[in-house]
């Protein structure tokens, strides 16, 4: 019960950060806050947080962004799947190595998003779209540290 409250709160925080107004040039590099949060919780609590929770988080961001239902949901499911395949290894890694592993994870997620976007009709410039993946991977150690504070403070195991 407590863990779902804590996870829900951090997901809400991630959604809030992802619609926060940002100055014009930085908008292209907006970190994938939701993907980072989902990845962290799946990595730390793989027995509690799984694909379904990731799917619902993605659905919430679809509603918020006004995009097709299921678009971000699919992307978040993919992120959770990749982390579930990797978690037994990357948990042991030091943080910088973790962020190295997270780079392709976020990159694949962004590419899937690009593909779904172009199916839905809007085609953004491609290379710029990968910038959020890079920024997210760079921010991963700090996001991890921040979310870990929550995890320890509320004894989520």
């Amino acid at each position: 019960m407590r863990h779902s409250l804590v996870v829900g709160f951090t997901v809400l925080l991630a959604l809030l950060l992802s619609v926060m107004p940002m100055p014009e040039p930085f908008g292209f590099g907006r970190p994938m806050w939701l993907a980072m949060t989902v990845a962290f919780w799946v990595m730390v609590l793989p027995h509690r947080i799984g694909l379904v929770m990731a799917w619902f988080a993605g659905l919430a961001s679809d509603v918020l962004y006004g995009e097709l239902f299921g678009q971000h949901a699919l992307v978040m499911t993919l992120v959770a799947t990749m982390v579930l395949l990797l978690y037994q290894r990357i948990r042991r890694f030091p943080l910088w190595q973790q962020s190295l592993v997270m780079l392709p994870v976020f990159g694949v997620a962004q590419l899937l998003l690009l593909w779904l976007n172009s199916l839905a009709g809007s085609r953004p410039p491609i290379l710029l779209l990968l910038l959020p993946a890079l920024v997210s991977a760079l921010l991963w150690p700090w996001a991890c540290a921040f979310l870990d504070i929550f995890r320890r403070r509320f004894h989520v195991v």
């Binding site: 809400l12 959604l15 809030l16 992802s18 619609v19 926060m20 107004p21 940002m22 908008g27 292209f28 907006r30 730390v44 793989p46 027995h47 799984g50 694909l51 379904v52 799917w55 919430a60 509603v63 918020l64 962004y65 006004g66 995009e67 097709l68 239902f69 299921g70 678009q71 949901a73 699919l74 499911t77 993919l78 799947t81 579930l84 395949l85 948990r91 042991r92 890694f93 030091p94 943080l95 973790q98 779904l116 839905a120 009709g121 809007s122 953004p124 410039p125 779209l129 150690p141 991890c144 540290a145 870990d148 504070i149 320890r152 004894h155 195991v157």
Partner: protein
Amino acid sequence: MIGTSNDWLSVAAAGAAQVYEECTIKPLFIKGPSLGVRLLALTVLSVALMVTDARLNVLQPVRAQLGMILMPIYYVAELPVRAWENVHTQLTSRADLIAENQRLRAESLLTQRKLQKLAALTEQNVRLRELLNSSSLVDERVLVAELVGVDPNPFTQRIMIDKGDRDGVFLGQPVLDATGLMGQVVEVMPFNSRVLLLTDVSHSLPVQVNRNGLRAMATGTGNNDWLELRHVSDTADIRIGDIMVSSGLGQRFPAGYPVGRVISVEQDPAEPFSIVKVAPTAQLNRSRYLLLVFSPESAYGDVFPVLSLEPEASPDQAVAAPEQPEQPEQPDIPGESSESSEAGEEGSNDAP
């Protein structure tokens, strides 16, 4: 230091020991349906949802309800901006306020003068149109809305406003600001709606040159600063500085609202058409207050009974043009009103 992964093992062990008495041991391997099966199920579900959402309108109510729950996130995200504005208003010096007040008074005076002239001109226009037996000019009603948030996706040009279904907003409704056309409503939620701006890549609208009536299509470029005119031949009479107004041909935007000003005309012999750039007159990335237009072209929102609902539903909501459609002039202009309304009646008697 927190979060180095080396001590996760020990933390996990400690945590497991701590909760050992009350609940089960944390499983080492995850059970239940395999990962592949779950992924496949959710993928199929997502794809089904996407196809349904793209092709049918079935999910629209669900989306509206979910949107109503989640929209407060936009309000919270905008809080710092609002707080800053509040502080700014509180701390504005008296001299600044007086100066602003004077400027606004002067502006109001100028606008009033133009409005007086406008009443006479409108009346003249109505008479001329009656001579030509063409349809009469009808005023639009507007509703003031406030900007709530900007779409976080940098590749689309969309904004959120604080009026929705409950205020009579309908899909495809034109949106203006004080200086020109801004865009149209693309998604309606109970208390909010989403507006697609003119400059979005997926947006086009029919326009005409104010000077000579030449028609064209203005397409968004994804850039805030200009629109492009599509398929303009090299010989077309378009000059830099021409004002483009909406032509009303698309049956969506009312005719005659300013869209933009031509800033460059390039005629490249290698290209089949000339490249015309139009800078939007509306302040697309600065306006905080927007006007939602209920026009006869959009049937005053035939989906929702706007006309009958509006006066009692929102008497204080700044419905800016409450007069009857038969009288295009403002009734509160001193001296002009009685005369012009007489003229209007006279005209309408002549018409049949």
